[in-house]
């Protein structure tokens, strides 16, 4: 089975702090994604990566950056956390030959 592991299930940070969310997948997938999920807004794509060191902006990249130094690992970085970044963050991976995304358990971030 595909396993996508997110490093932290719950985080509480203060406004202005730098936040790292880590994601690791074990299926050798080329594509990795970061979404955020908010009530009433659904899942929105922040960034995705189709190869090591490659990244593309999604629909809501402002305030976020990403890093993919190894194929299995994709990190989401909040340079200066703000309260409107309080959300559930979901990492996913997929292979180019199959479109379905496999998600991690999610990281619930609260920014105070």
């Amino acid at each position: 089975d595909v396993k996508v592991t997110q490093s932290s299930r719950y985080l509480v940070k203060r406004t202005g702090e730098k936040v790292f969310l880590e994601c690791v997948q074990d299926m050798d997938h080329e594509n990795m994604f970061w979404y955020r999920q908010d009530p009433g807004l659904g899942l929105r794509l922040i960034y995705f990566s189709y190869d090591v060191k490659m990244k593309e902006k999604g629909d809501i990249p402002e305030g976020y950056s990403v890093s993919r130094e190894k194929k299995e690992r994709f990190s989401l970085i909040l340079e200066s956390a703000s309260t409107n970044q309080t959300s559930m963050y979901l990492c996913a991976s997929s292979s180019p030959s199959h479109g379905e995304l496999f998600f991690g358990e999610g990281s619930r971030l609260t920014v105070l």
Binding site: F33, L45, G99, E100, L101, F103, G106
Partner: protein
Amino acid sequence: EDQVTQSPEALRLQEGESSSLNCSYTVSGLRGLFWYRQDPGKGPEFLFTLYSAGEEKEKERLKATLTKKESFLHITAPKPEDSATYLCAVQGRGSNYKLTFGKGTLLTVNP
């Protein structure tokens, strides 16, 4: 721009009462339509992929169907453990592997 609309937003059923969830979509060249199940506080769990109109997929009490404009997730004789949010997503040919998600249908099955 790809768009997905799911209805209803919420659905309450009695155990054993069959029903359907709807997913309407607009996409420039469908590469795939996906159904997911999401339990509270967890990540979405992949259920089905449908690629072309007329295709059907089944898994236990769930059956997904696809037309050129919409997909249905039929739930036959549901049980309380089927309670979850069901998400629909599409991938268009110009999407570069991205999926566009609907907002989901919250299904509650009462015993």
